[in-house]
Symmetry: C2
Subunit: 339 residues, 2 copies
């Protein structure tokens, strides 16, 4: 147990990509807890694009991170001290924490993970955590995916996208992913079983490339990127298609000067298609149902995933910015404490 609590505080609202000067590195004593609380040693933090939104004054879909406060992040950790019988010492918990060595938990802030399933802890921050729940409920509920439908996924080599595509394959779909670079594309087709992958960096006409794979149109488009990819996908929607908007990472650093939206929204009208935003928090109260099904797929080898674990709380900001350069391989996690 570390005897200090290191943390990254947000001290100014980033313009575009966050810089180290937007943060303060502070070292405090390990916090003490009161009745009903529990102390969590943070082991891993998930580097999620949503964090960038929480740094903005609007906060997007949560309260903004207050200036002077630690950077909010989904974490996994171990209860190391407890004044709450529901959170006994040694329990592995996950939920909203911070870029810090320790967080003080209150009831409902973090929840136990099914550690008894015996996976690596990182698994509970990817398929068996909010990432997996986003993929599962986004595909099956928001997009109302039906077995065998034509499925297109952007950000396909990312955490959510890679799971979505594999779920489509498990359910009998033709699945095409959009990703950046030949290595990611090869991973999608060779390792994960996608039918095809489109390397957007090497593709001049994205819309035509999609049309080649789906001449009859796309039934479900799972959107992780936004911008030109969304427009290309809308070009290729079939009748009564559904777009689940899970993320628009291309716009997160551009809130002052966002790129123009798709020119072709009228196609939603002529195809009677639907586009809907997805927040996983709407589904977390029943996420264990999805986790249980995904757990079976993981055990049978049908659902694969990749984590890219970087080390050291001191590297949080540089690690976080890898999200926006694409220079990571699988779900990006930061290891903060030893298991």
């Amino acid at each position: 147990m570390a005897d200090q609590n290191r943390q990254w505080l947000l001290t100014s609202r980033p313009q575009g990509q966050p810089k180290t000067s937007d943060f303060e590195w502070r070292v405090d004593d390990v916090p003490s807890i009161e009745d009903g609380q529990y102390l969590v040693r943070v082991l891993y933090a998930a580097m999620d694009p949503a964090i960038r939104g929480w740094m903005d004054p609007s906060g997007n879909y949560m309260d903004p991170i207050p200036l002077g406060s630690p950077v909010r992040s989904v974490v996994l950790g171990r209860v190391v001290e407890s004044k709450n019988p529901d959170y006994p010492e040694g329990m592995i918990v996950s939920g909203l924490g911070a870029w810090s060595d320790y967080v003080v938990g209150f009831p409902g802030m973090l929840g136990p993970v099914p550690a008894e399933w015996g996976h690596d802890f990182t698994t509970y921050l990817h398929p068996l955590g909010a990432v997996g729940a986003t993929a599962y409920y986004g595909l099956f509920e928001v997009a109302e995916y039906k077995d065998g439908e034509n499925l297109l996924v952007s950000g396909a080599a990312g955490g959510v996208g890679s799971l979505v595509g594999q779920m489509g394959k498990i359910k009998g779909s033709k699945v095409v992913g959009i990703a950046g670079g030949p290595e990611k594309c090869a991973w999608l087709t060779d390792e994960l079983g996608f039918d095809a992958a489109i390397d957007y960096r090497a593709t001049e006409d994205l819309s035509a490339a999609i049309a080649e794979h789906f001449p009859d149109g796309v039934d479900v488009y799972f959107e992780n990127v936004g911008g030109p990819m969304l427009e290309a996908a809308i070009d290729n929607l079939g009748q009564k298609a559904r777009i689940a908007i899970c993320g628009m990472i291309s716009q997160y650093n551009e809130s002052d000067n966002p790129p123009p939206g798709p020119h072709n929204l009228w196609r939603l009208l002529v195809t009677r298609s639907r586009m809907e935003g997805l927040l996983v928090s709407d589904y977390m109260h029943r996420a264990m149902d999805g986790y249980a099904e995904m757990n079976e797929w993981i055990k049978s080898g049908q659902l694969k995933f990749s984590v890219d674990v970087r080390e050291g709380l001191e590297n949080a900001i540089d690690t976080f910015n890898l999200l926006f350069t694409g220079a990571h391989d699988g779900k990006l996690l930061l290891k903060i404490g030893d298991e």
Copy 2:
């Protein structure tokens, strides 16, 4: 009964707003009919923005009008000769016809209107026709409107928009319409009972104007226009809001150079909102249910409407173009034959 059949044929694909030179005025004999067919004297044609889409090579959501064929249009007319017992002489019918004095009907092409309800014939081309069905099913089914929700309508002084707003008032909503010009806005508030109307021509910051009326956000946005209005509405969406896309008239003449789409689609994500296209043809098989309810509202004076009837088939093109200049007052109809 006229002894000639005058018609407007589409002879070239219009660029932007249609010009007379895109059409041919042809006068033929009154067509003869075969067994199973019926001859309809066209009395009124509805001037619908959708017709513009059918003139394009893509046709948008129907087959394009073939070059050399009469311009497709929703019409109302009287059966004047019949070789089909389901369509007796004298029956008043409506459905897809053409800009012509006569159309030859086949089973299912046109259908009887509930003339026994005793309304002016024009009523069956507005609230008790496809326009009314679009408003009714768009609001209650596509937008899943619930009583009392905050309702924003663009193109509010148009055929569909004016009905949508009144239905919201009947169901207890706060309703704000967006329209062009003080006369239209006054009509919405003074005659139709809208809570407020925003004159987009006199409003610099449309988004702020909407926010003033709906500080808690818009629950349902009924979209008839597209372009900057859509972006302003998206700025003001509440949580779990729904956008029914009924039309995007601002884009119909711009298919070669469409205006950019909304910059703020990420707000669909953070509000978990939904945007969905609406085609009334999906609902026509059960439209009589909606008509029956609207008939009661019309009889009780709760649902008002305005038709702008222009005269003469020869004026079809100029009349049609009034749709895009806004220089009409209520649902635009062209009277082609005497009742």
